[in-house]
Symmetry: C2
DNA sequence: GGTCACCACATTACATGCAATGTGTTGATG
DNA sequence: CATCAACACATTGCATGTAATGTGGTGACC
């Protein structure tokens, strides 16, 4: 029974696996599939009216991205980002956002600068109008996205992209600091100003500072509303061919 | 015709896909499959006497790792790392190795310190005995690997692991600086000393410096022996949903 | 009522079939 | 001799079949 769709558009840019990936990723990031949700390949394939192959591929990409977790004999599920994990993520992001801001400043042009201004303005508007958490997060993501794309460093862009995805996922679950959006916007302005002034050092400091404060606020917020304080929740790091060099007893 | 292997050990830790991945990764990193080599899924499946499914999965993981590149209608091939790409990679590594060294210093214990000493000693031995480029690279990798594992930061570990893989791949092709191994060892010692002294700042600086110099030496070496100087060989960055914020003409 | 064995189910991981599609080659033609 | 058209090939991407395996629930038994 070859489903209903008679000829599956194999045309340009179709790529069922990619579509499935994009769809699932978006659903996860928008919290439509909250952490812990089972990602059954057969079920998803059925719902999307495609076969299991592309879905399986999509799920594996999600796992690779850290947005999903493979549970031995129960399939995959949407990752639950715990606070410690998120904190560690911010530690890495701190360095890299700083680096991105520095590189971006060095490669900045008028168009990019204008673009950043637009984003800040839109962000301000969102906060003024009380556009909701989702709208804030979107502007926040755009700001960082533009900066890292300006860096011109492929590796940096890819890594930050992934880290932001993970962070985003975590933020849906944890953290509800009422002033956070406003503080973030103010810090973004500081980064922007340093960049506009053509000061890479200042831009790096400002960006690092921004992430550091995000991390601190996260810790503070979770301190008084403990969610997973017991147990370090230390993810077992499957020694990634680290044993290759082991030999002794 | 289910091949020869009658019952395919599906037992613990089997996982054909993973085995295939490990095998291919090792082959690529050891330069047994030099950059540009075609990675035909059917051919590999045939050679390994398994079906295409696990091989396809392995190849996709390699692509994700950046060790292989997907060529539209010709399958995948082992990535050719060009100098600019490698240089950019080192820029990122600079920040992250610095961070790793800092964090590692803060979490250092006697056992780890001893382990680092062992590696330095082994490295020294390799260089003294002229153990060859491969042996040097191995010690180099071990050193960095131990440090990042000490950092205790899962994200950092994963990212550096991948970056080191890519760098390793590039180094097979490019770069033949006769003194490089000796210089690297000396710089490793500096990092070690700062760590042993319990000085996170110094450790970070030393580690960053180390990578910076690797990068500079790379540029110098390729300056006089241009391999791919013509054409920026800029890898097309498949706009990674970056276009989401694009709109204007 | 609690414990344990059993059973049906869901899922994975792998094998394999198959149509669509671009590549490279070969041979015909101007 | 160069150009071009037709062809056979290899490969991908997707669909689907299947055995092995662990989960969860259900009922019997103590």
């Amino acid at each position: 029974m070859t489903a209903y769709s008679s000829v599956q558009r194999v045309a340009a840019g179709s790529l069922l696996a990619e579509r499935a990936y994009d769809e699932l990723r978006a659903a996860i990031l928008e919290n439509r599939l909250p952490p812990g949700t089972a990602l059954s390949v057969p079920a998803l394939a059925d719902r999307m009216s495609i076969s299991r192959s592309p879905v399986r591929e999509a799920v594996q990409r999600l796992i690779h991205d850290g947005l999903a977790t493979h549970v031995p004999h129960r399939g995959a599920e949407v990752s639950s980002v715990d606070i410690e994990d998120l904190r560690q993520l911010y530690v890495v992001r701190e360095s890299l956002e700083g680096l991105a801001a520095r590189l971006a400043t060095e490669r900045l042009d008028v168009a990019a600068l204008t673009r950043l201004e637009e984003i800040l303005a839109a962000h301000e508007r969102v906060l003024a109008e009380g556009g909701g958490e989702g709208a804030h997060i979107q502007q926040d993501m755009r700001f960082h996205q533009v900066i890292r794309n300006l860096s011109g460093n492929t590796h940096l862009i890819d890594i930050l992209d992934q880290l932001q995805g993970r962070a985003h996922l975590g933020l849906h679950t944890l953290w509800r600091h009422p002033h956070a959006p406003r503080l973030a916007l103010e810090e973004h302005r500081k980064v922007y100003e340093a960049m506009a002034a053509g000061d890479p050092d200042a831009a790096e400091r400002a960006a690092r500072n921004h992430v550091t404060r995000l991390r601190v606020r996260l810790s503070q917020a979770t301190e008084r509303a403990p969610g997973a304080e017991e147990g370090p929740t230390q993810r077992e790091h499957d020694d990634h061919r680290a044993a290759a060099t082991h030999r002794g007893p």
